[in-house]
Symmetry: C2
Subunit: 144 residues, 2 copies
DNA sequence: CCGAATCCTTTTCGATACTG
DNA sequence: CAGTATCGAAAAGGATTCGG
């Protein structure tokens, strides 16, 4: 994208990320305060991103999310939803029907992560083939 | 969705992500082919993002990366670097000095992930405070 | 229907010691 | 310097059972 150069692809974008990394270094790189660890570790776990995406279009009930992500266990669904609620990314709404129904919705904060998350997902989709090719090449030229 | 209401912030962006999710559903949501799982699980692990960022500015040697990320063990550094090489995100260059030195560099593919990754990192940085506040509120109103 | 509690397996990770 | 090998601890995850 942007100015298409011949041969020497990119290199220009994302100067900021490296610079920010340098900043972190200066302050001793405190793991507890590093947002990469504190936040990315969370949204990067096995189910979080999928759950967020499944709530992108509309609020959904517990069982509805479970249907959308068939191979998640109830335990992990409960746990991940609670973590997301704790972080303020989703809200939980209990309706006093019987049996009770519970709906989860993205909060404004949760909705705000969809955009950067989408960037990464679309990157993953578009590069998935390249990555699989690279894996095959690597495995082919590596010993048993 | 859409109809931009006052007070009700955003909602409009990222229609594509939810739609893409719907697409996946139609094909049975094959976990093995889902790029969210195949790729995000990788870059979302404990060290991958940090290593990619540490290589953003320039190629670095094994020990240099280890200095930049002080609390990574040699084992995990080796392992994560190898996984990244396998996925084609970084390249490995051995210089026949003695003792040998090895430099790791981002490949074009690896550089291409920095931009979406930066979006997420900057989101994390800017929202870190909100998330911590939400955590405190949640913990305060939850039982022992 | 939603979820808590328990048990158990798998995976991840770190510490340590060793090699070219 | 840049790894490899092995071990054990810890965390994550799944299956099952129970309860409001």
């Amino acid at each position: 994208m942007t100015r298409a150069l011949a041969g020497n692809l990119l290199q220009v974008p994302v100067p900021e990320l490296a610079d920010r990394f340098d900043e972190w270094q200066k302050f001793g790189f405190d793991a507890a305060r590093c947002p990469v660890r504190n936040v990315l570790d969370h949204i990067g776990d096995k189910w979080t991103a999928l759950i967020l995406i499944s709530l992108a279009k509309e609020g959904r009930r517990f069982s509805a999310v479970q249907r959308l992500i068939p191979d998640i266990s109830k335990k992990m669904l409960t746990q991940t939803l609670r973590d997301l609620e704790r972080d303020g990314l989703i809200t939980r709404h209990v309706f006093p029907t019987k049996p009770p129904s519970v709906e989860y919705r993205l909060s404004p904060l949760g909705r705000s992560v969809l955009d950067p998350l989408a960037q990464l997902v679309f990157w993953a989709e578009s590069r998935h083939g390249e990555i699989e090719d690279a894996r095959r090449r690597f495995d082919a030229s590596s010993p048993a």
